[in-house]
Amino acid sequence: MEFVLFILIIVNIYIVLTISLNLILGYTGMISVCHAAFMGIGAYVTTILMMNYQWSFLATLPLVLLFAVAISTLFGVASLRVKGDHYIAVSFGIQFIVMSLMINLAFTGGSNGFAGIPKPEILGFRFQSNFSCFLLSLIFMLLCLWFTARLAKSPFGLILKAIREDEMAAEALGKNIVFYKVAVFIIGCSLAALAGSFFASIVSFIDPFTFSLEESIFISCLVIIGGSGNIQGALVGVPLLIAFPEILRFLNIPSTVAAPLRQIFYGLLIIFFMRFRPQGILSEIRRKP
């Protein structure tokens, strides 16, 4: 039971990561491979403040947001104001630079990361048991889901889809494309950073390799397979893809073979989905013109 609860917590956090990347990748059609890096930024800021400076969990969240917004604004403005593929290079750059910093800086715990991070405490209540942590992650997930659903339905969300379908047409309608692209990049990355904070505090262990390029790609995989350009997709895709490797655990395959096999399975899934069902399991509802 404890194990199932733990999986459910992870599922909740990954749903947040998936819907936030969906805003960037699914709604706006921008490739971004630095989502795990932003999750890592959130996780590390929260962890360092809680462990080295004894901040409370809630108090770290505004600072996490500040960090994520600052970094995503800087890189977003720099790369998205130009037409073309530069932002892909920059997102690779963010991913590698952030991960290198986590491994090599003096105060980030090196490649061992941090263990024994305190569980979140809100208004005096400490979320110690797995069940309470699950509830916390569920509330966090539902809040993010609500926020994203509102955003997607708003004129803002519609403009994002317009940019994806035809950038030039959206621009011809007088929309400031760069503004919208940068804005959605900031929003998506900030949500990812918040998810990272919850992840660090609830799981209470982080190391740099949790936030690698492979993880970013895995999150893209979740977006694509669940269904890009809609909210419900994440609710289907994430549980499916997170639960699957746990089944492998019960088969007697040595981990040196099981890990690559799992990756190969994900890779094949992406290829097949892109070829035969690019909209994912749940497709976006399109209104008839």
Partner: protein, 289 residues
């Protein structure tokens, strides 16, 4: 001291030139973000290793077999994965994610076959003997590397400028639709582009595995370097891409001496992000693809 660093940089840079040219020739003509270039690199190098060391076949034969294998793998990927997507008029996101999926699958197959330790194809001690020229020390192997790359770069330049196929490739890059209407067999041409690009990256892998050795993750940074050199230098065509790749090799070597080797990735990606901030349209004024 400084001369030695520059010489080392030129040696590292010559492998980067191959990476840049091979990625560039594919990306600037077909527009495919060929992320799976990383896997082609891995398979090229490891096939060479497998034949020369594990199966004890003649050295030169294995070298060529590795390069040919890489070239054929590239062609196979184009035929099986990219061409159907091209016919479906897939979005760039679809093509990019397919390439990512392919990379995951192929890299993990390589991981299952060759494990994660770095492999080296040892070369004869005579080639590794140094030669002192004033302040600099350079091995015969390094001289051979530089000479080979210089010759190939020149040959590719002539090929693209003078030969019929080179002209066809340039016409295709400028306008794929029109070239097809003019009766060019663009599908076969795309296969040839992938053949050339993949053979070049196969050679890069062979040089790397003879000198430093490589593991399954090396390909990723090489392919990314090629992508970045292409983004920055594409305004000047293949010459620009080659020059940028070479400069990146030299700058990286200087940076590693000034700081230390663990900051390699931060230096490289830091330069790229900086460049994109200062000169968003590429280093050379004309608009890149």
């Amino acid at each position: 001291m400084i001369e030695q660093i520059i010489v080392n940089g030129v040696v590292a840079g010559s492998v980067y030139i191959l990476a840049g040219l091979s990625f560039g020739i594919i990306f600037t003509t077909t527009g495919v973000f060929h992320f799976a270039h990383a896997a082609v690199y891995t398979f090229g190098g490891f096939t060479f290793y497998q034949m020369a060391i594990a199966w004890k076949m003649p050295f030169i034969f294995s070298l060529f077999a590795g390069i040919v294998f890489a070239a054929l793998l590239g062609v196979l990927i184009e035929r099986v994965c990219y061409r159907p997507l091209d016919e479906l008029q897939a979005t760039p996101v679809q093509i990019f994610l397919t390439a990512v999926g392919l990379t995951i699958v192929l890299q993990n197959i390589a991981l299952l076959i060759w494990k994660s330790e770095p492999l080296v194809v040892p070369i004869s001690q005579d080639l590794l003997r140094g030669r002192q020229l004033g302040n600099i020390r350079i091995t015969y192997f390094q001289i051979i590397t530089i000479a080979t790359v210089a010759a190939l770069w020149g040959a590719l330049h002539l090929f693209m400028g003078r030969s019929k196929m080179g002209k066809a490739i340039r016409a295709f890059a400028a306008d794929p639709k029109t070239s097809e209407l003019m009766g060019m067999d663009t599908k076969t041409l795309r296969l040839w582009i992938f053949f050339i690009g993949s053979a070049l990256i196969g050679l890069a892998a062979a040089l790397q595995i003879m000198d430093f050795g490589m593991d399954t993750t090396t390909g990723l940074s090489v392919a990314l370097l090629g992508f970045i050199a292409t983004l920055i230098g594409a305004g000047w065509g293949l010459t620009g891409i080659g020059v940028i790749s070479l400069s990146l090799g030299i700058i990286e070597n200087i940076g590693m001496v000034v700081l230390s080797s663990q900051w390699k990735q931060v230096i490289l990606f830091g330069i790229i992000v900086l460049l994109l901030v200062i000169r968003p349209r590429g280093l050379f004024k004309t608009a890149a693809r």
